[in-house]
């Protein structure tokens, strides 16, 4: 059969609760994908949207309200591959981090008043509720990584996504180390790469927005940051701000137990 007559694979792009950053990255790179796929739903970018079976559904944002959950379940039911894109969908991002400190009810009361009718759920990543086939973190996702995930899935391959630490990319760029040389509280040693070691390249400390790397060496990170004079509560505050569960950094005991809070 003539290749042109074959129907194009279908994709959809959805957002739950987030900053719309992944949608923006996808929109800005869609031109490269348009010859290869049909976009059947992308409400951020087009008016004609259908909820029907797709080969790949990209979902950004966290589940933060009952409406998000209904939508996610409907998307899962229509998608062959469900790809969680961005820190919100993979880890829960800042709105997930804050839900470990306050309940949604407390926050709604404080921000919207006593009589608010906000139906909020504790913000959570997608895999709390549905099966997720591919997790592509980033805040925002890297355009190159997005296109390579798309290309792999279009070829029926699960994509390879690096979880090496940021330090690896930083060394490849031959940057000076901002942790060692500038005493900045850089989280690069325990954070997943993919950004091209962006913050250290700009002379600033990595703040962990892509989530943890594989087997993060938390004990060593803690020792180094203490040596540099950073209070542990500040370190933890930085670590958990972008939705990363604190437990993930400790192998046998929760980090919190070792900490004396002020």
């Amino acid at each position: 059969m003539d290749r042109l007559e074959q129907p194009l694979p279908c994709i959809s792009v959805h957002s739950l609760t987030g900053c719309a950053g992944e949608e923006l990255v996808i929109l800005e790179n869609l031109q490269k994908a348009l010859p290869l796929v049909r976009v059947v739903s992308f409400p951020f970018a087009q008016s004609a949207n259908e909820m029907r079976p797709v080969d790949i559904a990209f979902v950004e944002g966290s589940v933060s309200q009952p409406h998000d959950l209904e939508k996610l379940k409907a998307i899962r039911a229509t998608a062959r591959w469900l790809v969680a894109v961005g820190n919100c969908a993979v880890w829960g991002c800042v709105q997930g981090g804050v839900c470990r400190r306050f309940t949604p009810e407390q926050m709604a009361r404080d921000v919207y008043g006593q009589d608010n009718q906000i139906a909020a759920l504790p913000s959570a990543p997608l895999d709390k509720y549905v099966r997720v086939d591919v997790k592509l973190s980033g805040c925002p996702i890297d355009a190159g990584q997005f296109l390579s995930v798309l290309a792999s899935l279009l070829k029926d391959h699960l994509p390879y996504i690096t979880h090496k630490p940021v330090c690896l990319e930083c060394k490849l760029k031959e940057n000076g180390c901002v942790l060692v040389e500038k005493n900045l509280p850089c989280l690069g040693p325990i954070t997943a790469a993919g950004c091209g070691a962006l913050c250290p390249t700009f002379g600033a400390a990595c703040y962990g927005c892509w989530g943890p790397c594989e087997a993060p060496q938390m004990e060593a990170m803690e020792i180094v940051l203490k040596e540099k004079g950073y209070a542990i509560d500040e370190v933890i505050s930085r670590l958990t701000a972008f939705g990363i569960p604190q437990e993930i950094y400790s192998r046998d005991k929760p980090l919190e137990l070792k900490v004396s809070r002020q």
Binding site: A20, G21, E28, S47, V94, F102, A204, R238
Partner: protein, 437 residues
């Protein structure tokens, strides 16, 4: 349609806006009985998210309020914290912040005009249709957006969520060679910006509101048109320092929406490109001024749909200003750029408010710091929240005036109207439905 008919216009999800919102209009015996713009974006409680974090972390966190205007949220936060700490940024730092901000305005305005608003005017239901039937416009968008993204990448580190902006200054200066690349891109984009204005001037707005809104915008800190300032001016003739924002800007929750609504001294208000042009159009540089003075805006036609045109005029101005800023930076910065030697500032208790003119209007951040430099209290008022009450009033005026129009046409017009405000629901934490009862 008789006067006794009850109708509803309901737009369950306004597409081609950032985030999620619905419009609901009830019409009773030919009269509009209620209008609600419901933002059903999930709430994220940013005022709580920042609590307890060190001030250094705040710009990175508030950046995540909204991708497309992340630079605005970063800068408003930095200005507020600097105010609280009692420090003033250097003139070089301010120039670099300004350049980054101009990049955001170009990227955001271009994306709104071409990818989000234009399909209404040319009747393109989806992106591949727009890309295949309007390849030139699609290409214009790409070029202008790339320009904005390039500015933000060179100055801030990436197209949005910048990493190079900190309380007190930047961590790295750009190299002259990179700035010169931007200059070349800017000068080749000016024509595109003019043609964007021409394109928008060629569309006749299908509907119009019937009253003039109250406009609010920051008084630019220099004598030129601009986006940073410490004082706000109202079209009703008053001025107030940003630090007093709580006194002139009312903010309240509404039961049907996750976005709060604002009023200026009790009245619905409009912020954004049209407000800025209306108040400070006389300060535009020569390129943008020539377009502005020949446009319906200069003759007082304040139809909200012209906000798209206002954005296009601002793209022209932003390109012009970015060139001027780069010329100054080429004198002030070391040739190779490089590390700035930014130092951590000693913490101090205090309170401060900061504001910037974002693509959609004035954005306020306000923080209280404790003596360790951690956030004790926070408040943010977004442009989209400020516009919501005025959007509802616009819808009411338009529906009242065109109540006999075909519901499908009217609904489409209302979506176009809402979209012209370029609402950012992720910011406002809001949709369109018109119900005729």
């Amino acid at each position: 349609m008789t006067d006794h008919e009850r109708k509803t216009i309901h737009i369950p999800e306004v597409c081609r806006v950032e985030g999620h919102s619905a419009v609901h209009v009830d019409i009773d015996a030919g009269k509009v009985s209620s209008v609600t713009l419901d933002v059903f974006e999930g709430t994220r409680f940013f005022e709580k998210i920042v609590l307890g974090h060190h001030y250094e972390e705040i710009p990175h966190i508030t950046s995540r309020v909204c991708a497309i205007c992340s630079t605005g949220h970063v800068l408003a936060a930095i200005f507020a914290v600097e105010q609280a700490l009692g420090i003033a940024p250097s003139s070089t730092t301010l120039l670099l912040r300004e350049l980054l901000h101009l990049g955001m305005l170009i990227e955001s305005h271009a994306t709104h005009i071409y990818a989000l608003a234009l399909p209404d005017y040319v009747g393109a239901p989806d992106l591949s249709d727009l890309a295949s039937r309007y390849p030139d416009q699609f290409e214009n968008w790409n070029q202008l957006r790339n320009l904005g993204a390039a500015i933000q990448t060179i100055i801030g580190g990436r197209p949005f969520h910048p990493v190079n902006m900190h309380v007190g200054g930047l961590s790295r200066f750009p190299a002259h060679s990179d700035l010169k690349k931007l200059l070349a891109m800017l000068s080749s984009s000016l024509e595109l910006a003019f043609s964007t204005c021409d394109l928008l001037l060629s569309f006749k707005p299908p509907v119009a509101r019937t009253t003039q809104p109250v406009f609010l915008a920051l008084v630019p800190r220099e004598t030129e048109y601009g986006f940073f300032g410490n004082t706000v001016r109202s079209s009703e003739g008053w001025e107030e320092p940003v630090q007093n924002y709580k006194q002139y800007l009312g903010e309240h929750s509404v039961p049907y929406s996750h976005a709060k609504q604002s009023t200026a001294r009790g009245k619905p208000l409009m912020v954004g490109s049209m407000a800025r042009l209306s108040l400070f159009g006389h300060r535009l540089g020569r390129h943008a001024r020539s377009v502005y003075t020949a446009s319906p805006l200069a003759s007082g036609d304040m139809n909200s749909l012209w906000n798209n045109l206002a954005q296009a005029i601002e793209i022209v101005e932003c390109i012009y200003q970015a060139e001027l800023v780069i010329e100054k930076l080429l004198v002030e910065l070391p040739r190779g750029g490089g590390d700035t030697g930014l130092k951590r500032l000693p913490p101090k208790a205090g309170q401060g408010a900061g504001a910037v003119e974002c693509p959609r209007g004035t954005l306020y951040h306000c923080y209280s710091l404790d003596d360790r430099g951690h956030i004790a209290a926070a408040d943010m008022i977004t442009p989209s929240a400020q516009n919501t009450a005025r959007i509802e009033l616009d819808i009411r005026e338009v529906v009242t005036q065109f109540v006999d129009k075909e519901p499908e046409t009217l609904q489409a017009n209302l979506e176009t109207l809402v979209r012209a405000y370029d609402p950012c629901n992720t910011c406002a934490t809001h949709m369109v439905s018109v119900k005729y009862n």
